[in-house]
């Protein structure tokens, strides 16, 4: 594997290999000394064109626990106020000898451009590009689901599970990444969203669609419910009119204690963070025993270790 750009590029075998490697990585994190020498001498650059402290420190922790040298490169810029171009940044990183670049960018496709334009030759790991993909998020979500919901996780896929994604699918790279990976791993995906927040081509995505969380809970036995972040200011302001009001959204799509209790006993509650408590999820649901939201964060480090390891160290087993 040279790059990790999109979960659409992953075969079932690729995905299971990453999840299994993540298990091995997670196991090392229980040791007294958590640092592995695997990527000693390798340089990993965190190239963030968009602020995301959570994702950046997760990748930073992952790289450092593999003994890689980490350079954080914040290059904020937008289509309106252009900073240095992506091309010039890439040429700079190439000149500095980056072995891998972890890129977060506001533009969909930026990671693929970086990987395929010939501007640099290192591995590219997509840490979120616009509204397109965020593959390590989907992998850590799958890892978390497999751990909780599959009897013997190692080597398994997610066949037989039903996963509900609730909220803004249109603008969500988390949703796109998850839907592709969940389908590859054999899970059934239920998308729960107002029609305004679904892409026009959704009927061809091979997912079930529901326009209310109550209806989804009635119609499906949901093993994992994943609440997507609602960007309040983007939804109702500026003439966007995706839904009438945050209150109405919460009434129809929010996860509260009552709705949570309608999940089967083993059902888990997930959220990629950061949460809008009181909008898409109540504190009762977020902090309940069913919630694996905090665990998703720690699993994120293990999955990112696995991804960096597989991109940079090749096929040898974890020492």
């Amino acid at each position: 594997m040279k790059h990790l750009l999109s979960t659409q590029d992953l075969s079932r075998e690729d995905a299971i290999r990453i999840l299994d490697t993540s298990e091995q990585m997670a196991a090392t994190q229980d040791r007294e000394i958590r640092k592995l020498p695997t990527l000693r001498g390798k340089t990993v650059v965190n190239l963030f064109f968009e602020d995301s402290t959570r994702t950046r420190i997760s990748f930073e922790a992952a790289a450092k626990r593999l003994s890689a040298d980490v350079i954080n490169f914040g290059a904020k810029g937008s289509s309106v106020s252009k900073g240095e171009s992506l091309k010039d940044t890439a040429l700079t990183l190439q000149a500095m000898g980056a072995d891998a670049v972890v890129i977060r960018h506001w533009a969909s496709g930026a990671a693929e451009r970086l990987a395929t334009s010939g501007w640099m030759y290192g591995s590219v790991l997509n840490a979120g590009d616009g509204t397109h993909q965020h593959p390590t998020q989907a992998l850590l979500d799958a890892f978390t689901m497999r751990k909780h919901l599959v009897d013997s996780p190692t080597g398994s896929d997610l066949a037989g599970l039903t996963v509900a994604l609730v909220g803004d699918v249109l603008h969500s790279r988390v949703a796109r990444s998850n839907i592709a990976l969940l389908k590859t791993l054999g899970a059934t995906v239920v998308v729960v969203s107002p029609p305004t927040l679904l892409p026009v081509g959704i009927s061809q995505w091979g997912v079930k669609i529901s326009h209310g969380l109550d209806a989804a809970l009635d119609e499906h036995q949901i093993d994992a419910v994943m609440m997507l972040r609602v960007q309040r200011e983007r939804m109702t302001g500026g003439g966007a009119q995706f839904f009438p009001s945050p209150e109405e959204y919460t009434r129809m799509f929010g996860l509260d204690g009552d709705r949570m209790r309608r999940l089967p006993d083993h059902g888990i509650v997930m959220h990629p963070g950061p949460m809008n408590r009181g909008l898409e999820i109540t504190a009762e649901a977020a902090d309940s025993a069913r919630s694996v939201i905090v665990e998703q964060v720690s699993n994120g480090v293990a999955v990112r270790m696995a991804a960096l390891y597989l991109l940079l160290a090749g096929e040898e087993g974890v020492q």
Binding site: K82, G109, R113, G130, T131, P199, G201, W205, G239
Partner: protein
């Protein structure tokens, strides 16, 4: 090329006029003096036209020459040369320059610079509204009455979206037989739009440009044109629905004309996978069903013409992430090859139809009186020779344009223009003929 710009007579022997009538063409003093080589003056340059299609010189109703303002992308000189190489004898230069072509002064400047270069007739398009702002009508009368004699007005790049402004513009240009060429794009429905809205945009996470944003404006404008009894021209038709609306409007007798672009006739939104900004264009590449509808519409006459929307951009505006890249692609040198590939070689239209959609009708819409004339004795010697068997693979950097943002790199086209004559003077000849001029 200046060495070609002699005033020697030219005789083209044995060409196929319109692809169906074998004849010679004798070009003397800017006119077609005869259709028989026997009448050629002794000092005439002889071009062997065997196997070539002779068409009335091509006319592009939709070109961006970028001058004044963006001479880094294109100049009137480089754009004229690119046009001549593509077989064009006349281009209509869009108004979205800096400053905007919204005054008699700017259009006269563009027009006179085109004349000075002399490779194609450059007909400036005037802006409908001041600065393309969509609110205040520009002084279209002054542009019409200037030396540039502007007849086509367009805010291309932007839509005249205010229905009252559009209505007034349609009415106003009647006094000098002008036409409004509408860039049909509802601005509210396309805020932040990056590509055609459909399955691929959902997959790629790029903001969609829905077909309805084009179709709703066209529907409104054909009804407005009917109401005020004006003619209206629709730029770069890109959707199957748009073709249907134009077909309906024509069946009602509404005076509407429409154009299709070679890139919309050859490529689909699937090309956007990979996020290469060379495929970023406005209106965007659509689906195969839309491409098929454009072919059918051009074949049955619903779509009147093919225009290029030649839109040069420098490397730095394309060598970047998709969302930051400029919209547009160059196309003057590839247009006739693409029309041959998609329409002629597939049997949908004949070369006589190509003459109609790439020369006669665009000249008529633009009121270019000396263009799109028949290949007949006494007519202006504006002639394009196409070699329908000169297959070539497009190499984006091998262009006379100052920009190389072609989406057709690596695509094989079956034919191309091998010689262009403007009022009897060669403005482009294939290397195979260069010896004839020495």
């Amino acid at each position: 090329m200046s060495d070609l710009a002699t005033n020697r007579p030219v005789v083209i022997t044995g060409a196929s006029l319109y692809g169906d009538t074998k004849a010679d063409l004798v070009l003397v003093d800017g006119v077609i003096a005869s259709l028989s080589a026997k009448d050629a003056p002794t000092d005439a340059v002889t071009i062997d036209g065997t196997g070539l299609i002779a068409l009335p010189g091509l006319v592009d109703l939709h070109t961006h020459l970028r001058e004044p303002g963006r001479e880094d992308a294109e100049t009137i000189a480089s754009g004229s040369l690119s046009a001549a190489r593509g077989g064009y004898v006349a281009v209509h230069a869009m108004a979205n320059t800096t400053p905007t072509a919204d005054t008699a002064g700017v259009v006269e400047q563009v027009w006179s610079r085109g004349l000075e270069i002399g490779l194609v007739d450059v007909f400036p398009v005037g802006a409908v509204t001041v600065g393309l702002g969509g609110t205040q009508l520009s002084e279209m009368g002054a542009m019409a009455n200037s030396r540039a004699k502007v007849r086509v007005f367009s805010d291309d790049g932007k839509c005249v979206h205010d229905p009252v402004v559009m209505r007034r513009a349609l009415e106003y240009v009647k006094s000098f037989d002008g036409v409004i060429a509408q860039h049909a794009q509802d601005p509210r429905l396309t805020e932040g739009a990056q590509m055609h809205e459909g399955f691929v945009s959902g997959d790629l996470g790029l903001t969609g440009w829905p077909a309805v944003a084009e179709e709703s404006i066209i529907a409104r404008d054909v009804l407005l044109a009917e109401h005020v009894g004006s003619r209206v021209h629709i730029c770069h038709l890109s959707t199957a629905g748009s073709v249907e609306i134009i077909r309906w409007a024509k069946s009602r007798g509404i005076n509407v004309t429409a154009e299709a672009m070679p890139h919309h006739m050859l490529l689909t939104d699937e090309s956007v996978r990979g996020y290469d900004p060379r495929f970023k264009v406005n209106p965007p590449l659509r689906t195969q069903a839309d491409v098929d509808a454009l072919h059918a519409g051009l074949a049955d006459g619903t779509i009147d013409i093919v225009a290029t929307d030649h839109a040069p951009h420098p490397d730095e505006d394309k060598d970047c992430e998709w969302a930051s890249a400029a919209f547009g692609m160059i196309g003057l040198e590839t247009a006739v090859g693409i029309v041959q590939k998609t329409m002629v070689d597939t049997g949908l239209i004949t070369w006589r139809d190509v003459a109609r959609v790439m020369s006669e009708t665009p000249a008529s819409i633009g009121r270019d009186e000396a263009h799109g004339r028949p290949l007949a004795k006494g007519e202006p010697a504006n002639v394009t020779l196409v070699d329908p068997k000169a297959a070539w693979t497009v190499e984006p950097t091998a262009t006379a344009s100052r920009s190389n943002n072609s989406p057709f790199g690596g695509i094989e086209l079956p034919g191309r223009a091998v010689a262009t004559f403007l009022r009897g003077r060669a403005t482009h000849v294939d290397p195979r003929f260069e010896g004839a001029f020495s």
